[in-house]
Symmetry: C2
Subunit: 268 residues, 2 copies
């Protein structure tokens, strides 16, 4: 079984991805799709007069500032525009997709961070208490299994749900990792808008083709912000029992086939 | 079993509705929720620079002009903002809701209208070929039944899916009606921002308390535009086997209890 994470960059070829998914489903390959929508959320948030803000944690990770209004816009884009756009693409190709957020059926459950400690560009530290972010800790595997057994294609998207039933923004790559691990999935393919991990970003000829799981930590400092989260997700997937993670190009024809046939960065 | 349609007006009390739904679910009453989002779609569409347009059919019915961009905004609001907003309200109250559009699992299938014949205010007739509207003709009852058997609360929203796999805008009241009829549901409650059918709109003291199914047609000319569709839905529900439809006030505390205890307009 395959878990497929589809990134949310503007230049992804969603039609090519949907074509390729349809091929796999026709070949009776079981799949779970997880997708993002970060770029589109930035656009819509700006258009609606609530432009995106990003905060940096003490450990140097950048994340989206998620107040209630941002959460609402986030849901519009991830659960509305992106999720239903993908589900429609699959339905047009005869694949019976079902789009769900982590709120639905408590599919992705986790703890909401009570406080978020951030460091401003001037070095000043602040504590945010009204942020809705967290991390997926539990997956409703029974619901996913029931969908797969019914020959549906699950198409999953953030937000997740807190133990108190609140929507929480979670990282899509890491949510894909925990889903793949919990479902006992063999391979996680992460499609993005670069060919994989690049030694000298943005030089696409500097693709790193293979990383051994044990050496993943050494590559973290090469990765830029969004790739860093993908590698972090890859590490979590592997330590959770996934056999291999492939970060590959989502802008090309047959992106999944290419990823599985030696394209992208293989982490195993 | 109860089907509950929640309208999309700005003054609906969604928290009171969610409280009441939670009471029913705790009492082991089975429910299916269907909701709209028309007013919110108008607001977001205007904010995004693609203001809503409405067209009038030759038979006098007004409907939303649904081009591809409108469809995308429609999905953002109905499937994102409204659906996940409701699902979160239910989850906060311990009700394990699952939000789905008609695209998901081909839950609501129907024919897309190949052309839409409209009459402009000046009487000129036009034919629209790029409109994405239709009507629900088939319901995926197996998926709904599986959710109910798993103790989930289905929360359903337009769009539906065409036989070709395209998203199509369908009327929420009529989708609720066909869902209730197909699922063999006894009672359909339609919550809206008036106390029911008013003989002299907007005089709320002119509530019509009961309409016999056989006389429903006589009341169609009293109903204004949106109420007309609710009565049309009511008629379709009754002729499909639903025992009673209650159109009632969604702006009050305990709106479902009140509707079932003599509030609103009972059509049976």
């Amino acid at each position: 079984m395959l878990a497929l994470k589809i990134g949310g960059s503007a230049d992804m070829d969603y039609d090519a991805i949907a074509d390729d998914v349809a091929e796999f489903v026709k070949g009776e390959q079981r799949l779970i799709v997880i997708h993002g929508g970060s770029t589109q959320t930035n656009e819509v948030a700006s258009a609606l007069g609530h432009p995106p803000e990003f905060v940096t944690s003490a450990s140097g990770y950048v994340s989206r500032r998620t107040d209630r209004r941002t959460l609402e816009i986030f849901e519009m884009v991830y659960c509305g525009q992106m999720n239903k756009g993908l589900v429609e693409r699959f339905q047009k190709r005869g694949v019976n997709a079902v789009g769900l957020s982590g709120l639905d059926g408590r599919l992705w459950e986790g703890r909401r961070k009570a406080t978020l400690k951030v460091v401003d560009p001037d070095g000043r530290r602040r504590v945010l208490r009204d942020d809705y972010t967290g991390r997926v800790e539990r997956v409703n595997t029974a619901m996913l299994q029931a969908l797969l057994d019914g020959s549906y294609l699950p198409v999953l998207t953030p937000p997740a749900v807190s133990y108190d039933g609140e929507a929480i923004n979670v990282d899509g790559d890491r949510a894909a990792a925990v889903t793949a691990a919990t479902m006992g999935i063999d391979t996680l393919v992460i499609l993005t808008n670069v060919p994989g991990l690049l030694e000298h970003y943005p030089d696409e000829s500097s693709l790193i083709e293979r990383i051994a799981a044990a050496e993943l930590r050494d590559f973290m400092n090469i990765a830029r912000e969004r790739m860093k989260k993908k590698l972090m997700g890859a590490g979590e997937a592997l330590s959770g029992g996934v056999r291999r993670v492939i970060v590959a190009d989502g802008r090309v024809q047959q992106p999944i086939q290419k990823a599985l046939n030696g394209g992208g960065t293989l982490i195993e």
